[in-house]
């Protein structure tokens, strides 16, 4: 019988959302449209329309040594062209943001190729070749893994994950990179490191509280689904905790 990955334990909606995001055969729902130019503006690594700067000559022009691994592992488009390595970083509010730092890394490792994620408590950075990054960032912004109010694209000064939301429902941002307009649409007025943009970039309307609760990937006993409501998840966590604690004493499962 062929191996079928489980992705994660749990019977709650949070557990199911986590599995959906990780499972590459699950098609993430597209909720908003951003253009390629919008993504380039928010990332701020190069001017829109400019050619991709390169870090080395294209692989086709290089004399590569004979190596069976190179035949097995095909390079991504960015690697083929010799693009620079650039990054996108997301800060996710613990108030039911649709994705969370660890979850992002798991999901991206299953879905994307040639990436180098860095996971922290309140933010997650992913590095890869610039050409690939534009595609990955676009997918992360357009789909159900993003919410304009509770997720921020922040390269620096990222504080906000663990803070209460503002009155208008936006996650705190010391640099106020995105602003909720009177028409209810969130617009990025600065790029991810805080440099003002020539034009505002629309990322759509914030999702409502009900949608966020149904699509969240974080357990939260006050505003979302509590971990104690998912006994299967608790059993899994306790098993991992027990085995980790006993590790070094030759643990044997009974």
């Amino acid at each position: 019988m062929a191996y079928k990955p489980q992705y994660g334990p749990g019977t709650s909606i949070v557990a199911q959302n986590r599995r959906n995001q990780m499972n590459p055969s699950y098609k993430l729902k597209k909720l908003r449209d951003v253009t390629d130019e919008d993504v380039v503006l928010i990332l701020g690594h190069r001017a829109p329309g400019a050619a991709y700067p390169s870090a080395h000559p294209p692989l086709a022009e290089q004399q590569e040594p004979a190596d069976p691994m190179r035949k097995l592992v095909k390079p991504t488009e960015g690697a083929k062209a010799g693009d620079r390595v650039r990054y996108v970083q997301f800060a996710d509010s613990m108030f039911n943001a649709p994705s969370q730092p660890y979850q992002r890394t798991y999901a991206e490792m299953y879905r994307f190729r040639a990436i180098d994620p860095g996971t922290l408590s309140g933010r997650q950075i992913v590095e890869c070749r610039e050409r690939d990054l534009d595609q990955y960032a676009k997918l992360l912004i357009e789909t159900e893994m993003f919410d304009p109010a509770t997720i921020g694209i922040r390269g620096a000064t990222v504080h906000g994950h663990s803070l209460r939301l503002a009155e208008d429902g936006m996650m705190f941002d010391a640099l106020q990179r995105c602003v909720l307009g009177e028409d209810g649409i969130v617009r990025y007025v600065k790029d991810q490191v805080g440099v003002p943009l020539d034009r505002a970039v629309e990322v759509g309307k914030p999702m409502d509280a009900k949608w966020l609760k149904e699509h969240s990937t974080i357990f939260h006993s006050l505003v979302g689904t509590a971990l104690r409501e998912d006994p299967e998840y608790i059993e899994y966590l306790q098993r991992i905790h027990t085995l980790r604690t006993k590790y070094g004493f030759m643990p044997k499962e009974e």
Partner: protein, 176 residues
């Protein structure tokens, strides 16, 4: 805790407050007679970008605007998270609670009481920083890392006492 220390309480709304709401709240708070000192806590809103490639650039932020409380104008340097009050006696806390019940209609809030939320007497560090003749009213009000002092709002705290001073200070919470 010294016996002479005044009671304190802390208003904690469920959301971080905008400058407009903060202005409304503080005007109501200063309207309650018997409030001695007020401290606003919350995450900082830097005037310039502090980190990263854009470091040093101006950081326009609609939440960093000037508000007016009982005629005194000052710029919000934090987004209001909590408002700590030092009051004359316990009956003022009850009045503050009634005021908050009427004010917070859209978002829930908690009024914490029964313990101390800011310094009420000078410590060794205050002595080193402000010297032996420091005004005790500013103890616990001013962020020691900031150069600006508290805002003094001249209002009568008790009708029979006439004019008194009420200090509002802003304090930064560090980024984690």
């Amino acid at each position: 805790m010294p016996e002479s220390a005044f009671p304190q309480c802390r208003i904690v709304p469920l959301r971080l407050l905008s400058p407009q709401t903060t202005e409304g709240l503080l005007n109501r708070v200063t309207g309650v007679s018997g409030v001695r000192r007020i401290v606003i806590n919350g995450p900082g809103l830097p005037a310039i970008v502090p980190y990263g490639p854009a470091r040093g650039q101006a950081n326009p932020n609609t939440n960093r605007r000037t508000i007016q409380v009982c005629g005194a104008e000052f710029e919000m340097k934090v987004q209001t998270g909590t408002v700590t009050l030092e009051v004359e006696d316990e009956s003022v806390i009850t009045a503050v609670q009634e005021m908050c019940d009427a004010f917070f209609t859209k978002i829930p809030y908690t009024l914490q009481k029964g313990r101390r939320f800011m310094k009420s007497s000078p410590t060794l560090v205050d002595y080193a920083k402000y010297g032996p003749k420091a005004n005790e009213l500013i103890i616990g009000l001013v962020d020691p890392r900031k150069k600006d002092g508290p805002v003094i709002i001249p209002i009568p705290t008790r009708q029979e006492e006439g004019e008194d001073c009420q200090g509002i200070s802003r304090q930064n919470i560090h980024q984690i």
